[in-house]
């Protein structure tokens, strides 16, 4: 791979065919956004001139539907994110933006206080009740994701594992670490069942996705440098880094290089796997443990945008189907939340409008459970339909008994 995939070199491939416009969920939801073609490659040809600010840049949610629609390989959404970073060089961030970009920092702070998670969760419900979030510029309609009493990295050492020669490092991501550690637990169980011991690396940072979409590119670069260096260390030891979070894996595998263009990001990326991608590779090699209880359930599968972008097929669906499950893809497009986008007060309505088709599909309830690999997609589905989805790895873990 050469620097062909660095986003800034892809803008000139744009033929102005408008495929991205026809597939942009934000354009479909509102008239204000000028759309990926004009904001990304067209405006990008202005070469990031400081005075030349595109007023509707803020509307891009970085869902990457445009990138997938593009027949010419233009990294449209990443061009938008690079320009967003330019914008914030001369414009201050709001307090709300600072908050939603730094979930990792908040998580760490909370853990320093005894019973911090409990207090923080109470604080968030009070904050919601007092309409404080709304005043800050956050979507008051939403619950902020509640903190788990113990972050995954803290109780991980208490999980009983048998030592094994084969090892993987779990990149938890912030959401699994702080909010849904049971997903991490399920991952450990599945990997153990397949003869792998799971390690964690406390030196990893947040992948940087919330920073990139909020215009904190320099900070994101620090995270990228640190994470890539750690991944390369593990690569030297032949230990793959695996993550059940599809936005983390997309960031580590693809977006670092698209954004920053350094070869080390490609080298590190080769050692990173989505959890089910990894399991499917085991299956192809005949190394997958298929000693599972039959899964006699029917699932509605919301495939996250950031999984679609990875071009790895639908490994979770394949593996669950081979274990007897019926998996129906939701085929209802983007859920609308797109990371922290839907947490912004001024983007809440757009985010709910984008997700409406998916909520309607979920409310049909012609299945036993909704599954989705992405934490924020799961939050959005729960918020929009009242039905709580789970990560497919939880289903698989349960089937190992």
């Amino acid at each position: 791979m050469s620097d062909k995939t660095q986003a800034i070199f892809t803008g000139d491939r744009c033929l102005s065919c408008t495929s991205c416009m026809a597939n942009c969920p934000v354009m479909a939801a509102i008239k204000d956004y000028r759309g990926p073609k004009l904001v990304g490659p067209a405006h990008g040809r202005m070469h990031f001139s400081q005075e030349d600010v595109e007023a509707t840049l803020e509307f891009c949610s970085n869902c990457k539907s445009c990138d997938r629609a593009c027949p010419s390989g233009v990294a449209v959404s990443t061009l938008n994110m690079l320009k967003r970073a330019e914008f914030y060089k001369t414009h201050p961030h709001t307090q709300a933006e600072d908050m939603i970009a730094h979930g990792e920092r908040a998580g760490k702070m909370v853990r320093k206080i005894p019973f911090g998670a409990t207090f923080a969760n109470i604080g968030m419900s009070i904050g919601k009740a007092l309409n404080i979030f709304d005043k800050l510029g956050l979507a008051g309609e939403r619950n902020m994701p509640a903190y788990a009493s113990d972050p995954f990295k803290e109780f991980f050492p208490r999980i009983k594992q048998t030592a094994a020669d084969k090892k993987v490092v779990l990149f938890t991501g912030c959401y699994i670490n702080d909010n849904e550690p049971h997903v991490g637990e399920a991952f450990v169980k599945v990997m153990n069942a397949n003869g792998y011991e799971v390690l964690i690396d406390k030196e990893f940072n947040c992948c940087g996705s919330p920073l990139v979409v909020t215009g904190y590119l320099d900070e994101a670069k620090q995270h990228a440098d640190n994470n890539a260096a750690r991944i390369l260390e593990w690569k030297k030891k032949n230990i793959p880094v695996v993550t059940p979070c599809t936005s983390c894996s997309l960031m580590l595998k693809e977006e670092y290089h698209e954004l920053f263009g350094e070869e080390k990001f490609h080298e590190a990326a080769q050692n990173v796997f989505d959890a089910f991608e990894f399991l499917e590779i085991l299956q192809e090699r005949g190394e997958f443990n298929d000693n599972l209880k039959p899964i006699n359930q029917k699932f509605l599968y919301h495939v996250p945008c950031h999984l679609k972008s990875q071009a790895i097929g639908l490994p979770a669906a394949n593996i669950l189907e081979e274990a007897g499950a019926k998996v129906q893809t939701a085929d209802a497009g983007c859920c609308g939340i797109s990371g922290n986008y839907g947490f912004r007060k001024d983007k809440y309505e757009i985010s709910m409008k984008i997700g409406a088709k998916l909520f309607e599909r979920v409310k049909k309830k012609d299945f036993d459970k909704v599954i989705s690999d992405c934490g924020t997609c799961r939050m959005q589905i729960h918020h929009g339909s009242g039905i709580k989805p789970c990560h497919p790895i939880e289903i698989l873990a349960a089937a190992y008994g």
Binding site: T18, S19, D32, G313
Partner: protein, 404 residues
């Protein structure tokens, strides 16, 4: 390991059609796409051959023409299947092989095509007394006066009237037909009310840009039922609602038939054993993944879609299976300098040759892969744009390749 019955490579008209026909035939189908295909940019009309009687003209095509390999029976069956697919998704198409139907273009000329969206079928325009051409405030690239002026050349005896409606579309950005169609979905009343002010009678026609929704027929039905005059949509510049409707109709059909669609999946090469293809390799940003199937359909398009590429002159290649590509050799034969002349462009004949099973063949006519079928714009031997057969070759070859 998952093995599909059929893998279709390509998410344009031919790829969708092949996936639909194979799935309808009870096959387990995976569709690999890279980019959203050209349907959102297309008029929605399917040209089969530019002739007063396309079915008769098809019988006369030369030996190397894809239609010769496909056969009239399959072309006819493909056209019928196409109409069935769209109908099942509540998008109504009309047409047949024995004649072409006029539609009004965005500049007010008439274009003739075999299969057209019912909303564009301008056959009855000739019987109308008065023709209203309606533009929408803020909608770009649609000029009622120009359309009326040009249509007068076809219908000099008719009365034309132009009007401009304010549908409250403005705000934020330049409004395209796609935007208008999106905004009017579920809000059709504002358009119906606006059109009612024209006081058009049942003897009249109302010509509007293609803004009657982005899915199926429901927006059109909501407006049509309130008007006495017949309403006609034109074609438009991309993004094109009639093309988007067609794309969505296919996707809806494929989803309900259980076809798995894999986006962003660029196939870089085949995995072959002798004359058999056993898999295709998808390259993502870090590694490769093999998708396996019993049968493969190559619907990657021609020059415009990367199905055929030419990095050096006189050396066009098919990048996935490295199939032989036939082309007019020599710079002097390559192109016709008069772009809008009545002669074809030779370079457009570049493409892959097949036998009657649509299996790719080499220069001696020998089949290269027995379970690989080449369909759509990457078929060589004819200038499809010049003879206006691109849509027909796509749907008919895809249909035959899928049901074989």
């Amino acid at each position: 390991m998952k093995i599909s019955d059929v893998i279709v490579i390509g998410g344009g008209l031919a790829g969708f059609m092949a996936a639909a026909a194979a799935a309808d035939n009870g096959q387990k189908v995976s569709l690999l796409t890279y980019g959203s295909g050209s349907l959102p940019l297309a008029s929605g009309a399917i040209d089969i051959l530019n002739s007063k009687a396309p079915d008769e003209a098809i019988k006369l095509v030369l030996e190397n023409h894809p239609y010769k390999k496909i056969g009239l029976k399959n072309i006819d069956a493909a056209a019928k299947f196409f109409v069935d697919v769209t109908n099942k998704s509540d998008l109504h198409y009309v047409g047949r092989l024995s004649a072409q139907i006029p539609i009004v273009t965005a500049v007010g000329t008439l274009k003739y095509s075999c299969l057209v969206p019912e909303s564009m079928d301008a056959t009855n325009l000739a019987d109308k007394k008065k023709i209203f051409v309606v533009e929408i405030k803020g909608l770009k690239d649609f000029y009622a006066a120009m359309i009326a002026d040009n249509l007068k050349k076809y219908f000099p005896e008719k009365i034309f009237e132009t009007a401009k409606l304010d549908l409250n579309l403005l705000g934020g950005r330049d409004i395209t037909c796609m935007d208008a169609a999106q905004i009017l979905t579920g809000n059709e009343q504002i358009l119906a009310d606006g059109l009612k002010t024209l006081n058009a009678t049942e003897d009249d026609a109302i010509i509007i840009p293609p803004i009657l929704g982005l899915e199926g027929n429901s927006s059109r039905a909501a407006v049509k039922s309130q008007l006495r005059a017949q309403i006609f949509e034109t074609t438009c510049l991309p993004p094109s609602p009639p093309g988007i409707r067609l794309q969505r109709a296919f996707i809806k059909f494929l989803q309900s038939a259980g076809v798995r669609i894999f986006e962003n999946s660029k196939v870089v090469r085949g995995v072959v054993e002798g004359k058999k293809v056993t898999g295709v390799v998808v390259e993502n940003s870090v590694r490769e993944k093999i998708f396996r199937a019993k049968k493969f359909i190559l619907a990657t398009g021609g020059f415009y879609s990367g199905g055929i590429v030419m990095r050096e002159f006189d050396n066009p290649i098919e990048p996935i299976f490295d199939l032989p590509v036939f082309y007019p050799s020599g710079a002097e034969k390559w192109s016709n300098k008069n772009l809008f002349s009545d002669k074809p462009q030779n370079f457009s004949m570049t493409g892959i040759f097949t036998d009657e099973n649509l299996n790719p063949i080499d220069g001696d006519g020998k089949v290269l892969f027995e379970n690989l079928h080449v369909v759509g714009a990457n078929l060589g031997g004819v200038d499809k744009i010049f003879e206006r057969s691109a849509g027909g070759i796509s749907i008919a070859s895809a249909y035959k390749g899928a049901i074989l």
